[in-house]
Structure formats: structure tokens, C-alpha cells
Amino acid sequence: MIALILRGGVLLALAAPALLLAVLALPGFLGRPWSESRVGLLTQAAFLASFGAVAAAGLAYAAGARVPLVIHLGGWFSKDGGFSFDLLVDGWSLGFAALSVGICGVVSSFSFRYLHREPGFQRYFILLVCFVGGLLLVALAGSVEVLFAGWELLGLSSALLVAFFHERPAPVDNGFRVLAFYRIGDACMLSAAVLLHHWAGSDSLSLLFSGGAGHLSRLGADHVVTIAVLLIAAAAAKSALLPFSTWLPRAMEGPTPSSAVYYGALSIHAGCFLLLRASSLVQYSAATRILTAAAGLATAGYAALSGRAQTDVKSKLCFASLAQVGIIVVEISLGLNTLAFLHMSGNICLRLLQFLSAPNILHDLHQLENDLGASLAAAEEPPAAWGGALYLFALERGFLDGLMDRWLAEPLERLAAALESLDRRLCRIPAAFFGGGDGA
């Protein structure tokens, strides 16, 4: 009975957003989109169903033997070690899934009113459903294929929501940047998946996620470290850890609720969750532990420092969120998984509330002043050391934009240009050889 509820709950939780996506998107393709109120109703119903299912599964899990369960959904060429679609259900996955769906339900209720009469209303909700689907897949992934699919859905919907107002150039430009950084993470994750297949002959994540160090013994030590480093890099790109933090303030171009749920709350914690699941990998060697801790600590320091000089409410909030993300990563590197998870949920809920009420800042501060009966305390003088360099560093967000352009974007551009000219030259060879014209 308990096993049935567990299995059924997880499947229903996944099926609800998938079904909703089909129901929302199809009429739009046929040129007869749903009315706003229908979209609201359908979305709320599906999110409620999904949340209820996860909650039921969670209760069943807690009431049962609390052993991780692998649900095999199917495969493709799986006999020859091909692709397999597995879910891995345990406390972490159910917890994160419940949190994700619950939070998205709240945000969809907010968005339903906030985006009323917006031309991109349908598009927004379709992307939000993709996001929930992606999060659930990431949370429940039992094989690299499922994880990767969820990871991609997350990234794609995220970049498209940053570029939601595509009639202006800035959101599109920034959406593109976000996508570019996500691709770096995706490439790392894909490499990890391929290497895992290659070395272990299996893509089961239960190997990496749920087991202790003993499960990793099938792999050589350097293999484990390689895969761990790749996964840490993937998580770093998704969670805007250093040196990838530059995209985070740029992602504030979308509607407030999407900025809130992605960069204040859930999406930015997806990397943390990945590390949490793969904590046996992180814990595997001192090198990976130190690498993780260093990334987390540097990010937290960077974000706390940058946040001090920001003068707009959304930048302030995203750096506040990022500082805690950095600390959560440190906690994971220390093996404090339960604390990390609690900290993560706290950060998610608080930042979401703060982001959703960010436009209320004037009202709130006015109220604060009235309660205090005086002006708010004046800003502090920043340290004057090094000719104010610290302040400049904070104001310019660590110069990451310039540095990334210089050391990442420009070399890539040059490489692409070189490849393009090579390609063009290669194309000219047959023409010269056969004496043909350019073919206009």
C-alpha cells in the first residue's frame, strides 16, 4: 500500500505538469489560446494536484521504511547500456520536489493577477510549467538522462523568461548571456554523463547520489574526481557561483515574479541541490571538498561585498540570495547536509517573499521610518584602503562583466571567427578545383 502511494504519488506529480503543458500549449498552436481565467484555473489545479501527490508520497515515504526507491520508467536501447529513464525517490528528492511545486504554486497564483492583460500571458505560464517540470525532473532524477532533461528545461525556460520582453534589446541581450553561461554548465554535465557511461558502464545516478563511498569503488579515484569536478562546475554555473556570478544581476529583466522564483528562489538553488545529491562525490576526496568550499566561500564573500554597494532593490536582493547560496555550498562541502537543506528552504522562502514585494520597498521603508519615528540610519562609509578600491570592486560587481568578456567571450569569439574563416576557405577549395563560379 505504502509503496503504491509512493510510486503513484511521484508519477502523478510528474504527470500533472506534463499534462498541463500539453493542454496549455496545444490550443495556442492551433491559434485558439485559452482565456486567462482558464489558464489560471488549469495551472492552479495542476499545481495543487502535483503538490498533493508529492506530499502524499512524502508522507508515505516517512511512514514507510525510508529506503531510497528507484522507479524505472523505461529505456531506449537499454539492453545495450543505452538510455534509461529512472527516478530516484528518497527524502531529499521528495523534499525538494515538494518545496519546488509548492513555491511555484504560490508564484503562479501571484503571476495570474500580476500578468493580467499582458500580451505574453500564455507564454509566461507555459514557461513556468516547463520550469516546474524541469525542477521535478532534477529533484527526482535517477539517471543522468532524466537529470539532463530537467536541467535543460530549467535553463531554457529561464533564459526565455529573462528575454520575456523581447521587443526591447536589453532583455534579449541579457537572456542570451544567461543562456551562454548555462550552456557552460550544461556542457560540464553532459561530459560528466558521457564519462560516467564510459567508465562505469552505467548511467544510474543512484550510484552517485544515494550511496556512500562504497558505491563509488567501481570507479577509479581519478575518474570519480573528474566527474565530481564536472558536476561541481555544472552546479556552479546554475547557481551563479564564482566565476559565473556575472549573469545573476543581468537576469532581472523579466517580470518580477519570474525573477523572484528563478533567481531569488528555486533555480539558483538547483545547483546546490545537485551538490547535495552528489554529496558522496563532493565528500570523496579532499580536493573536491576544498574546491567546493572555496567556490562557496568566495561566492558568499563576493556577494556580501557587492551587495553592500548596490543601489537598486533587485540587485541587492539577488546578491543577498547569492551570499547565502555560497554558504549553503560551504555547508555541503562540510557534509552538513541537513543543515544545508534547511538553510536552502529558508533562503528560498524568504527571498521569494522579499522579491515578490520588492516594488513595495518605498512603502516599507516609509513605514519603518514612521515606526522608528526617525530617519533610517545613514549609510556607512566604506573602507578607504587602496584608494577606495574595495568600494569600486563592490559597485562594479567585482568587474566580472569586463573580465568575462575579456577572458571568456572574446577568446570564444576569436575562435569562432577563425573557424568561420577556415570554413569559408575550405569551401573555396572545391570551387577553385572545379573552376566553378561562386554560384551567387
Partner: protein, 970 residues
Amino acid sequence: MDGAAPDARLKGVIERLAELLPAQGPIGIFIHHNTLHAFESQDFEQAVVSAGEKLSCEPFLPEEEYRREFQSGRILEQDLRWALGDELGPDAARAVFDDLTRLELRIRIARYGIPKAAGASLAWLLQETPVLRRFREDIPNDARQALRNGSSARDLWRACLAAARKTPAAPFVPPAPPARHRDLLLAAAGTDTDAWVNPVLIRLLGAFLDQGLARWSLPEASRGLYACFLHLYANSWASLCGRWAARLPDLIREERRLGLSPSASLERSLEVLGVGGEEAAGFLEATALALRGWAGMIRQLEERPDRVPARSRPAAVMEYLAVRLLLERAALSYAASRLPGFGATLSELRAHLRGLLEPPPLASDEERAWQIFHAAQLCGLTAARIGGLSAAQAAALEAELAGFDETSRRRVLQSAYDRHLRGRLCDALSARVPAPTPSPAAYQAIFCLDEREESFRRHLEETAPDCETFGAAGFFGVAMYYQGATDAHPRPLCPIAVKPRHYVGEMKIDPSAALARWRRVRRRQSGRLGQLLHRFNGTFLGGYLITTVAGPLSILPLVLRVVFPGLARRWSLALPFSKTPATRLLLDRRPEAPPIGAHYGYTKEEMAAIVGNLLRGAAIAGRLAPVVVVAGHGSTSLNNPHESAHDCGACGGGRGGPNARAFAQMANDPAVRALLAQDGLRVPEQTRFIGALRNTCDNSVEFFDLDLLPREHEKRFGRIAADFARTRRKEAHERCRRFENFPLSGGHGAALAHVEERAHDLAQPRPEYGHASNAFCVVGRRSRTRGLFLDRRAFLTSYDPTQDEDGSILESTLAAVTPVVAGISLEYYFSRVDPSGYGCATKLPHNVASLLGVMNGTQSDLRTGLPWQMVEIHEPVRLFLVVECAPERFESVLERLPTVRRLLDGRWIFAACLDPNSRALRLRGTDGYRPWTAQAPLPSVVGDSASWYRGRRDHLPIAEIIPPPEAALP
């Protein structure tokens, strides 16, 4: 140049260009103003076009939007005929060729339009769509008839092509090349240096102007932007801002070594950039407009440092430009170094780039024929007739079409659009027999003249036919700095043009000192906690504690406030310390020095003058009822940086409750009444004034100082309170018809609950629609408009021409009212016709910057104007002012009000005079007054307002609401 000191010359240039910058102050105090105030000396129709070119904004709505209004009957062909006839004058009947008059040709083109197509898009239309296979569907019947008898569409096209080829294309006048290096660079090489410079500048300006968001303050900010920039960016780390900034620290160090003042630095930058003296004004103007929201805020704080009492900064546009040009020099020299084949200095850069620009091609034969082809279809000219045109005739037709370009068509359509709405009010006023005034009235109520009070007054009069309402500027003559008992700072409550001299405070009079103390301590505690949260939210350890301890708990307020806003509101109201304490206004003159302003409180003489002016101006004196309610208004909403834009314009974007309360207290004062009686204005002893605050968002009404109400008035007030309670439900219902997510079938109670929830919902971007329906302003007796359903479109100011012998009351009324209402009307106009140019576009991505304004995302220009959610249902028309007086009186008053006159003469607003003794209306035009002749009968409906509006969402025509027979009895 002419020997003037360079410094003074530059100052003059900057003074002139600063006029062009948006004049919107800090967003917490939102004051509606004419977006194009700098152009007011021009005609409206010229001004919008020239401003549009300068600021890259739209002058009018898109053509299609006007054409849609023909279908709904909002514009009639008759209106178009008038508008064009007016514009063309005697030329209207001149023939273009044969019997085709200019008027006829233009009417058809304006009405049906010529699809925009050129170059590749025209080629596509011609080849891939059926435009040449059949005639247009949307052409007038007579034209279709004429064409049917001729040959095919393709023949017509060939004839048009042949006609176009008969004459050479008109020589093309290339537009002046842009003044800025950046614009040329972008056009010629595709490099945008603003994309490098702006983010750095935006962060710097945000930090410089910050009013309390950042934890760290900008070092050296007190020395001004320029000195602060030189200090900060001389650091060699600044070169990390991007490759373009590699030379920036060196540049700045050199600047520092030279020890230049901001103006000298500006001179030097102009020289380095090769901008000569004559050209400097245009160049600097374009440079300042590159980030005009931020530059405008600098300007506002330069002129009115008192608008940010918390942290004022030595802001100056001159320093801003000096900094900007230093950054641009760094960026341009890097961009120039990457430009192939350019090795000269920056001063040569523009000449080099201009050489790279290609002149746009002449109009092709097809493009010219396309215009003729459509004109021929609209006028029913067959291929034979077009073929028969001589070269001169074809040229005349083409010139006529070129002279009626898109901007001219939109201008004419706007004119027709405006005119039709004016006609509706004229029809209503000239058809309506003045309503009998209840005499004596059971009670009276004075409201703000705001058009949102029109519906409230109408519903109140329907609820209580024996009451009388008046309209006056909502600060009720009480211009003051006001500080409530729980306010941290005083704020001015009066029109922006007035600088208050009086300070008024508020005192708590809680019956129990212990309770008061408890409340105060609770407030202080919650304030301190909030401040800690605000300060340490983003820090390492503080943030850690907050997220781990308070974080998981925040799920409760999150779900409650987002998913159940109505419930959250009711619970928060139930908290014991959320109750506001009982208070009194400290209105009487006190000897001590006030915190701000010249006097602490008012003397009795000052009070008597204020009360006397209002009672005489609104013509209430002499007919006072036993109770007079004085109701100011304000609006509260959450998650709305533009909250203050919904407050009272006459209170300078504040809430008018304290003004109403102060007025009532003054008018109740026996000493004031004695002074008034000496002056010949008798206030009956039993008359009591009651101050009130009406919330235009959640429709609550709060009455002040009821504990002071004499016993004999209690029963009377009980009735008034019941009337107001019914009225606010009914008015909420009328407002709700505009909200799509309130069902049209909803009842009164549901409507009130709906508007209450809207005001307290974090997720609601449209807490109310504000002034979105404004169109008219009527200055006259209420009897002229009482019983008319004006659909919340009219500012209503009470004025009795029979009590105003020398026109002085009219003069003071118009002087106070017109600038406020014209400001509202024009701000809405511009934000509606170009929502992302003049307005600040959709609210959804807005981000509060420096507590002064909003940006899109984290590094955009400050967005000024109104958001789309506020203006989306607005009809962008110019205000129509109807004054109940003779034209001669009006003109003589205008003589003394040059600013109002300038608005009228430039057609920024329109006006008409309503005869005090008859129903005749005379419209003020450029060539004198024209009598109005009724165009359409006034619709009427028996019942109440709901009988007219029920089940309908859009703007409604004006109608007469005839009370059912039983209700008409007093």
C-alpha cells in the same frame, strides 16, 4: 565666439538643454505635469512632432488605432471632415486635378489609409500577396462602384506606375547626420559605445543619488559627482570595467593633474572630441538625452534639493556631462583604435565616420506608384483616368500625397478624435435642463474636483437626493507642511506651485497613557527589528541568521499575503497595535519655531481667510446646511512604486485628509466664525463641518474628530454615515466594471470586497485606474451637471457666476485648477500615445533604483512617465475645459492668466463657455467663439447610474439619469 566667458556660455547651453529633460522628481511624491513642458510655447501639434523627433517618441497614436475607432463610432466621418476643413481652410475645395478636391482626397486617405510598404516589403507585397489581383476590400462604396466599371487592379497598377514615371522622383533631402560620435559609430561600424559607458554611469549615478538603499555610501559624494568620479575611477582597478576602460584611469589622472573645474573639463572634452563652439549646444543636448531619465533626476535635485530631505546631494547637470564625456572619450578612443583605416585623433573621428555613411536611396518608381495606386482605389479612379493624367497632374497628385504624410494623417485623426468627445459633452450640456437644487439641503459635501469624485458625488446624490455636493481643489486652501503623529518627516500638502509657509503637527490623545505607551514601544520595537532586517539582509552572517531562523517561517506570510490577500488584510487589521491612535491637529499658532516652514500653525485671521475664500469660491456661503462634510482623497496600494500618482494632485501627490480635517476644524472655530461674520459671511451657529478622507482605491471613507461632534448632530450624522456607506459600495460597483477580473454580474458587496482586496494585494499591478478616464473639466454650478452620467471623465469645480461680480473668483479658481488638470491630462496623453517613450512601459519588470525612480532590470535608464497599466484604458484626448460664464468674462480673466492662455492658444487644452442664463455653448477657437449646434440627442435612462452602465466595460457616452418618480420627491 562672441567674447562671452566660456563658463557662462556653457552654463547658458546647459540651462537650455536641461529644459528638455524629464521633469519628474523622486517617485515617492509623484506630481503630474505636462511631459513636454519645455515645448509649451509652441502649438501642440507642432510641439509633439518636433519633440518627437528630438526624443525619438511618437506624437500621436498609430493610425490603425484611430481607424478602429471609426468602427465603434467613437470617431464619425463628420468629425474628420470638420478637422480637415479647419486645417485646410479655404484651400479645402481646391481641386488636385479634375473634380477631385483636396478635402475629398484627404478624407479618404485619412479614413482608410495607405499601407506602409517600401523596398523589400513592397516587393514582397506585390509578388506574394493578392494586392494586384483584386481591389482593396475596405474602400468606400462609391469608389467600389466606380472601380467595378473600370478595368482590373493590375491595369490600375500599371497605369499608376506609368504615371509615376512621367515625372522624376522628388529630390531627397537627407536628414542632418547625428551629432554624437556614438550615433555615427553605431550607424557606420555597428559599435555601440553607450553599451559600455552607460552601465558604469548608471551604477555611479545610482550610488551618487541613493536615498537609503545601499549599505555603503559613495565615498567623497559630498564634493559633487565630478570630484567623486575623479577620486574613484582614478584607481587602476577601474581599467577592469572592460577593455574600453583600459585607458580610463590614465585619462582621469591627467584630468586630476590639470586640476580642471567641471566646466573647464567639459570645454576640454569638447575640444578633444572636435566639437566646435557653434555645434556644442546640439552635441551636448544629444549627449544629455542619451540617458535622459537619470540626467533629469540630476536636474530635479539640482533645482529642488528640498525634494529629498533625507540625503541631498550637490547634483549638477554640468558635472554629469563632464563625467559622461570623460567616459565617452575613453570608450571612443578604444573604439577608434579598432576601426580599420583610421589613425587620426578623436577630433577627426566624426568626419571619417560621416564619409562611411551611405546616403539613403531615392524613392523607387514602385514606391511612388504604391501611393498613387491606393489613392486611386480610395477615390474610385480607374486605370483609364490615371492613364489620362498629364505629367503636371500626376506631379500634383504626388505632391498632394507627399504633403499628407503619415504624421499629418495622424494629426488630423487625433483632431477628429478629440473633437468628437468634446461634441458629446457639448451636446449633453446644451440639452440638459439645469437640475433643481435641493433647497434647503439636508447636508452638503465638498469634494476634491478630481474626476474620480464625479462618480462618488453622483452616487451620493442618487442615494440622498436632498444633499448637495461641491467640488474644489482638494487641498481646500490649506497649504501646509504636515506631520502626522506617527510620521517621521513633515511633507508639503498643497499644489506643487505653492511653497507652504505653515507647519501643522498632529498630537495623540489616547485616553489611556499605558496603552499609548505600549503601542509606542511595540512600534519602536517592530521598527528596530525591521531596520535590522533591512541592514543585514544581504550580509554574510546577518543574512545567515535571518535566512536560517526567519527563512522557514516566512512561508506563512508568503502564502498568506500572496494567495489570500483579503484574509491577510483582515488579520493584520485585527492585530491590537495596528489601531491608529486618537489624535488632534495642532492647528493654532504656536510661538515656537516649526521644523520646516515659517510658522507653526495658523492665526485666526489666516484661518478666516482660508475658510472665507473656499466658501465664497465654491458658492456655498449663504446656503450652508446644518452639516457640511469636507472630503479629501488619497489612495493606498501595495507593490506600487507609482502609488503616489494616485493621490491628490492638488495636494502635491499627497493624501488630502489632513487638509480636509484642518479646514473643518478652522470652519468650526467660533473665533473664526466671528471674524467671518465681520466680513459679511455668516456661518449659522448650528452648522458643523466634518473632515473626511476618501480612499479612491479601497473606497473607504474615514471621518475625523467625530468625538467633537455636538450631540444634536449625532442623528443627522448617523444618516450621513449610512449614505456614505451605501455610496461607497455603489461607487465601487461602478469602478469595478472597468476591471476585467470582476464579473459584470457581481453585486455591490462583492464589488466593495474586490476593491478592498485590490488595494492590499501584492500581485495587483492595477490597484485602481487613477485618472485614466479624464477628458473634461467643468467649472460651474453643479446644477448644470447634476444628473448627468459623466463616466468619471470630468473634473468638476464649483463656481457660481452669479456670485462673482468682477471675475476675481473665476480668476483664482482657474489659476489654481487649470495647471493641475492640464498637467494630469497631458501626462496621461503622452504616456498613452508612446507608452515606452514618454511613459515607463509595463510595470512588470520595474525595479526601484536609489528610492528615486524605477528602472527596467538592473541597469537601464530611469523610466519616467506613467506605466502602461495606468494608461491602458485611457483615451488620449486633450482636456476640454467648460466654464460657466460669458466669453467676454473668460477672455478678460485669461488676460490676467498668461500661462492658461498659452495652453489654450497653443491648443494643449480646449475651452468653451457655457452661458449662465441659458443652455447656449460657445466654443473658443483660434479665430474667436463659435456657437455650438447640437449634433446628437442626449440619451437618457430612468433609474440610477447602474441602469446606464450595468453590463458594460468600456467608456460610455454621457447620459441623463432620470430618478424614478418616487425618489424624486424630497
